[in-house]
């Protein structure tokens, strides 16, 4: 069984009402994904802008053992579980935006397919000490045609020129790359705005 570490906490199970209920007129939910390797700051980013304390839940998938699970030595079916965190921003009386922080490694591909179908776009969060953690995510997003931006989470310390990061990632020149401090609400906000503006550009160009 695979699992992820999580910086958020489980919701209480006392049966109380959720904090900050949505308006009764809420009818349209949208989603954005924040993907990246372990410890890169996905939940930190979600927390920076979420109106609720980030929540954690799990998705499981039972399937015939694939190569990934052969290490477990289990014959037949296996269950893969992955935990992910999410937060929420109410947009207006009818719309609400959900932000999902999810691990980007290849073995969590099933989560992407289920969770991110219909997502407006994705933020790929990178740490220059572990750039390779996001290679698969970028390949996958490109292959799916999901709009994305890449945000270098430098925790307020600009260490590498962005051009070097772009070259190391072999990133399409059209994909926005920006620096951020995921702990900061305003910095995270700018990343999300850059993503939505990028989506808007692609829509205007008829590419989305």
């Amino acid at each position: 069984m695979h699992s992820t570490t999580s910086e958020s906490v489980p919701a209480d199970r006392t049966g109380g009402a959720p904090e900050l209920p949505l308006p009764d007129s809420a009818a349209q939910a949208l989603k954005l994904a924040v993907v990246g390797g372990f410890g890169v700051g996905k939940t930190t980013m979600v927390r920076a802008v979420s109106e609720i304390r980030p929540l954690t839940t799990e998705e499981t998938m039972t399937r015939a053992s694939a190569s990934v699970d052969d290490l477990q030595g289990v014959e037949g079916k296996s269950t893969t579980t992955v935990a992910f965190d999410f937060g929420r921003i109410t947009l207006d009386a009818t719309s609400v935006l959900y932000l999902f922080g999810a691990p980007g490694q290849q073995r969590f591909w099933f989560l992407w397919d289920r969770l991110f179908s219909g997502a407006l776009g994705a933020v790929v969060l990178v740490d220059t000490r572990r750039l390779e953690d996001c290679f698969y995510a970028i390949d996958r997003l490109e292959a799916q045609g999901t709009p994305f931006v890449v945000a270098h989470n430098d925790f307020g310390e600009a260490d590498h020129p962005l051009d070097d990061v772009r070259a190391a990632l072999d990133l399409d020149p059209a994909v926005p790359l920006l620096r951020c401090d995921a702990r900061e609400r305003d910095s995270t906000k700018q990343v999300l705005i850059a993503l939505v503006e990028h989506v808007r550009t692609l829509v205007k160009e008829g590419r989305r």
Partner: protein, 119 residues
């Protein structure tokens, strides 16, 4: 994840779903909003009653799962029971975008941008 369902073992999850591992309404997206249409009734399965209390105001499928401390897969089955019996209604997100039918109308994007700028 101290309250994680995974630590409670699969047996309990099968009890909750009355032995089912499938049959969930596949149109229930992670962000489909669920709204209770009735009060819990005596004798109702506790998870169903819990969902009805949670969804007095609209709540997404993932939030329901997080509040119940159960995997999404299990929660989809429970929600399907409630949708099928009319105890909750589901407000689905726009269909997944495709090259033929982009979800992202400029109006929606403007709305998101305005809200983000106002954060």
């Amino acid at each position: 994840m101290s309250l994680s369902a995974r630590q409670e073992g699969p047996d309990r999850l099968y009890v909750i779903t009355a032995g089912r591992s499938g049959g969930a309404d596949e149109t229930l997206d992670a962000v489909t909003l669920i709204v209770a249409e009735s009060e819990p009734t005596p004798g109702m399965q506790s998870e169903h009653a819990h969902i009805l209390r949670l969804c007095v105001s609209p709540l997404s499928v993932v939030e329901v799962a997080a509040h119940l401390g159960l995997p999404l897969t299990v929660v989809r089955i429970l929600l399907t029971d409630l949708v099928d019996t009319g105890r909750v209604t589901a407000r689905h997100p726009a269909p997944a975008p495709s090259p033929a039918s982009p979800l992202t109308s400029p109006d929606v994007l403007e709305k998101v941008l305005v809200a983000l700028h106002d954060l």
